[in-house]
């Protein structure tokens, strides 16, 4: 009888397991099984934004992250279990991710847990990190497209903490070990932590491992953030530079809505309407109709509270003016003429398809689950998304285009004349 009761209790525990749970200390855990291949991914996002850095301490987040990572030297090498760890400083958060053969998921969660909750923050380690970061050299972009992108970011995110996240503005030698320790205590806390696991996993088992490891973790209360939206430009401008490159890049950039903004989904459809696949307007006009370039596309990758939307081509110097006019024309047309149902449906279905196809990758799926949570989306957002996208109308496209595609910065990178010779 006792065993029967125990069995029933175990079954009830398993049945009661939710794919989304919040531990008592505030850590949020999401698990999703998708057994495409015997691989599992863990994604841990710490909600510690560039906007949380005091103005005089830019680079603080990176210093905290790298210090935490130093702990890896005291842990078993994840490569020895066939996996890899990826740590990245993002505009809105710190990302700690691991991808392993599915049978090693518990080890992966354990390693990330050690890195995040138990770093060695002694003076020697922190000073070593600060020295390494200060001595770091940055590779400058080599091709015209990346140079143009950098120029555009500089204008769109002028004076915004989102840009630049790295490089010269950082003064690591202003930071002290106490700054790093304080930032760790304030921001690397359970209530800022989101854990997502996806792939060939058992949801209940992965959730239990995460619960067991992270439930003891203690930390202070979340600090209220002073959110700064990315602002529309006050006037349009053109920047033109000559560089030792071979191709000409023409890039038109606008501020765009962040993922938390209600216009974000419509903007994603606009992005697909203009450029995704072979049916996008810019691809059709610039590449297929006018034959002005091989690459002609738009890019919209929103951060939580702002974004840059770009329309660009890589072309020949002699075609620069025609390319620029074609880009301006397509973005103007979007604001004046309704998209046909056929082309809008293509854009919407491509966006829906892209999302679901990309989730075959366990790391992408885990990232999206954690990222949507960080951006305050509902638990079942990935299931709701197709319905939300299909609701978008031609009128929504016009409305959102008019709101955001007003003033722009145009960046043109030309090959130097001697480079052509």
């Amino acid at each position: 009888m006792r065993y029967l009761t125990l069995l029933i209790l175990c079954l009830l525990t398993l049945c009661a397991y939710s794919e989304n749970l919040t531990l008592t200390n505030g850590v949020r855990v999401i698990t999703r099984r998708m057994a495409i291949a015997p691989i599992a991914s863990i994604e841990i996002l710490i909600d510690y934004s560039a906007m949380d850095e005091p103005a005089m301490q830019s680079g603080l987040r990176e210093a905290v992250m790298v210090t935490m990572l130093k702990n890896i030297n005291n842990l078993p090498d994840i490569a020895d279990i066939g996996g890899n760890i990826n740590v990245e400083l993002k505009e809105d958060c710190l990302e700690f991710a691991a991808k392993v053969p599915a049978n090693q998921i518990d080890s992966a969660i354990f390693l990330l847990h050690k890195i995040i909750t138990n770093p060695d923050l002694n003076d020697n380690i922190i000073l070593q990190v600060l020295n390494e970061l200060a001595a770091r050299k940055f590779q400058q972009p080599d091709d015209s497209m990346n140079i143009a992108y950098r120029m555009s970011e500089n204008e769109i995110f002028a004076n915004h903490p989102y840009y630049p996240m790295s490089e010269s503005k950082f003064k690591f030698n202003r930071l002290t070990p106490d700054n790093i320790r304080l930032a760790y205590q304030q921001y690397i806390i359970p209530s800022n932590c989101i854990i997502a696991a996806a792939g060939d996993i058992d949801n209940a088992s992965a959730g239990k491992t995460a619960t067991m490891l992270f439930s003891d973790w203690k930390g202070g209360n979340k600090i209220q953030r002073d959110v700064r939206q990315v602002q529309l430009l006050t006037e349009s401008d053109v920047q033109l530079v000559e560089m030792p490159v071979n191709s000409t890049a023409v890039m038109m950039a606008f501020p765009g809505p962040g993922l938390k903004h209600p216009d974000s989904l419509t903007m994603q459809v606009i992005n697909h309407l203009l450029s995704s696949g072979t049916g996008g307007r810019i691809f059709k006009s610039i590449r297929e109709k006018q034959r002005l370039a091989y690459d002609a596309a738009t890019l919209y990758a929103p951060y939580a509270d702002g974004a840059m939307f770009t329309a660009y081509t890589i072309t020949d110097r002699s075609l620069m003016e025609r390319v620029k006019n074609a880009l301006v024309e397509e973005l103007s047309l979007l604001q004046t003429k309704e998209a046909t149902q056929a082309e809008l449906n293509r854009a919407k279905e491509m966006l829906i398809g892209e999302y679901s196809i990309s989730h075959q990758s366990s790391s992408q799926y885990a990232f999206d689950l954690a990222w949507n949570k960080l951006c305050d989306k509902p638990d079942n957002y990935d299931e709701m998304l197709p319905g939300l996208i299909r609701k978008i109308t031609p009128a929504d496209i016009i409305k959102v285009s008019r709101r955001w595609f007003t003033r722009y910065t145009l960046s043109i990178v030309l090959p130097q004349i001697q480079a052509e010779n």
Binding site: D80, D142, M243, T278, D316, M350, S356, I357, Q360
Partner: protein, 430 residues
């Protein structure tokens, strides 16, 4: 207590880890249609998606190809008998939330796409049209030329692509593999529509093609659809003559200007052809040891000598005739000579010093990468297609893990000490 148990498990498991095979023997089904088309199916019902790849065993390594295979790949989407409007076949797929595209490499050209499982019939219809029934009109041919020229021009801005193109050029002297897969700008300017049509007529035969489907589909459904869409009245296919890669001395080429501040260098080592599975597995292990992960040897050798390393890397392309391992290093110009010497000396020393522990770790890494690189249906279909287009002799994909396990440290050491066939240096930076 349980936490420490986990740590213990992790620390003792390093050499006991089993990496699952992404292509276990029983998971892949093979068939050949009466017209010679090979059909490969890997069923997986975990997501309602299918990936389809049609591979033609004709890439830029065909003698005197001059960029034709790549040009043909572009033109195939510019109108077919059933979908005559340029790009309309791709558009149909996009309307249903999928995508399809083409890729040219040295041994083959692939046409592939991903779509929801219930639209597999449409995908097969599109890919059969694109491969077997493209229109290839002179008008479309001329219209496409500027786009291809722009694509080639774009690659000139990428120093790594430039370096690898040079490395292949000198590592495969007097062999068609020396050419970039796109052809050169001069090649493309000289091409005629007739040459594209002739190439298609010669090589795009079911007997020279494979259809690969991975995902939420039944094998019988694929076989029925293959018969429906890929049946032709073609005569038997005559394979391409083998152009052997001749042994060659080491060629050293440098193009570094006084104004350059950085140097990209590549070293090419000769390895086995695809039908020597053991040799290929050995090469996979060596390139992994040298260039993959946090403990990559090349990076470590350079860093230990205080060289300003900007990046390091490598690639190993197995091919039908003979493979090449290419190791590249990107350093400050002032360190370039020292870096090259360290790399060559490191390879020589490595040939005598491969411990069993190093070998075991590298094997684990190779198997793990193989698994990770074949996570999605699209990647699995591409891998199966690439193998179909290669002459792997008696071996199939499911032999790969076993071959990796069988490699010895002596084999890896021998390969590390082989005489390079090319050493290239290119300047750049600002």
């Amino acid at each position: 207590m349980i936490k420490y148990f986990l740590l213990l498990l992790l620390s003792i498991s390093a050499f006991a880890v089993t990496i699952p095979d992404p292509f276990p023997d029983e998971s892949v089904k093979y068939a050949t249609m009466p017209n010679g088309l090979r059909v490969v199916v890997k069923e997986n019902h975990a997501a309602p998606i299918v990936a389809v790849s049609v591979v033609v065993s004709a890439g830029s390594g065909i003698s005197d190809s001059k960029g034709i295979p790549h040009y043909l790949e572009h033109l195939s989407f510019q109108g077919t008998q059933k979908y005559p409007v340029p790009l309309s076949a791709q558009y149909l797929i996009e309307e249903k939330g999928g995508y399809c595209t083409g890729t040219t490499n040295r041994d083959s050209t692939r046409f592939e796409g991903v779509i929801t499982a219930d639209k597999i019939d449409l995908m097969l219809s599109v890919l059969s049209q694109v491969t077997l029934h493209p229109i290839l009109s002179d008008e479309a041919f001329e219209r496409e030329r500027p786009t291809i020229l722009a694509e080639i021009q774009r690659y000139y801005d990428d120093p790594e692509v430039n370096l690898l193109n040079s490395a292949y050029y000198f590592a495969y002297r007097n062999h068609p593999y020396c050419n970039p897969t796109t052809g050169t700008i001069q090649n493309v300017l000289m091409l005629k529509g007739e040459e594209i049509r002739d190439f298609h007529k010669r090589w795009y035969k079911p007997g020279n093609m494979s259809l690969v489907v991975v995902g939420d589909v039944k094998t019988e459904t694929v076989l029925d659809a293959a018969e429906k869409y890929f049946t032709t009245n073609e005569k038997s296919f005559i394979p391409a003559p083998i152009i052997k890669v001749q042994p060659q001395d080491c060629k050293q080429i440098s193009s570094v200007l006084p104004t350059d501040t950085e140097v990209w260098q590549a070293i090419a080592l000769p390895t086995s052809a695809a039908n020597d599975f053991s040799g290929c597995s050995t090469a996979d292990i060596l390139i992994t040891m040298l260039t993959t992960g946090n403990n990559a040897l090349v990076y470590k050798w350079l860093k230990d000598t205080n060289i300003t390393v900007i990046s390091t890397g490598g690639e190993y392309i197995t091919s039908n005739y003979a493979g090449r391992i290419i190791i590249w290093i990107h350093t400050a110009k002032k360190d370039a000579d020292t870096a090259k010497k360290i790399l060559l000396a490191g390879l020589l020393a490595l040939s005598q010093n491969i411990t069993e522990e190093m070998l075991a770790k590298a094997k684990l890494k190779v198997k793990a990468e193989y698994l990770m690189n074949n996570e999605t249906f699209a990647r699995q279909a591409a891998t199966l297609a690439i193998y179909q287009a290669m002459d792997t002799g008696q071996y199939t994909l499911s032999d790969y893990i076993q071959q990796i396990d069988a490699v010895t440290s002596r084999q890896v050491g021998n390969l590390a000490s082989v005489q390079p066939v090319a050493i290239i240096a290119k300047g750049g930076g600002r």
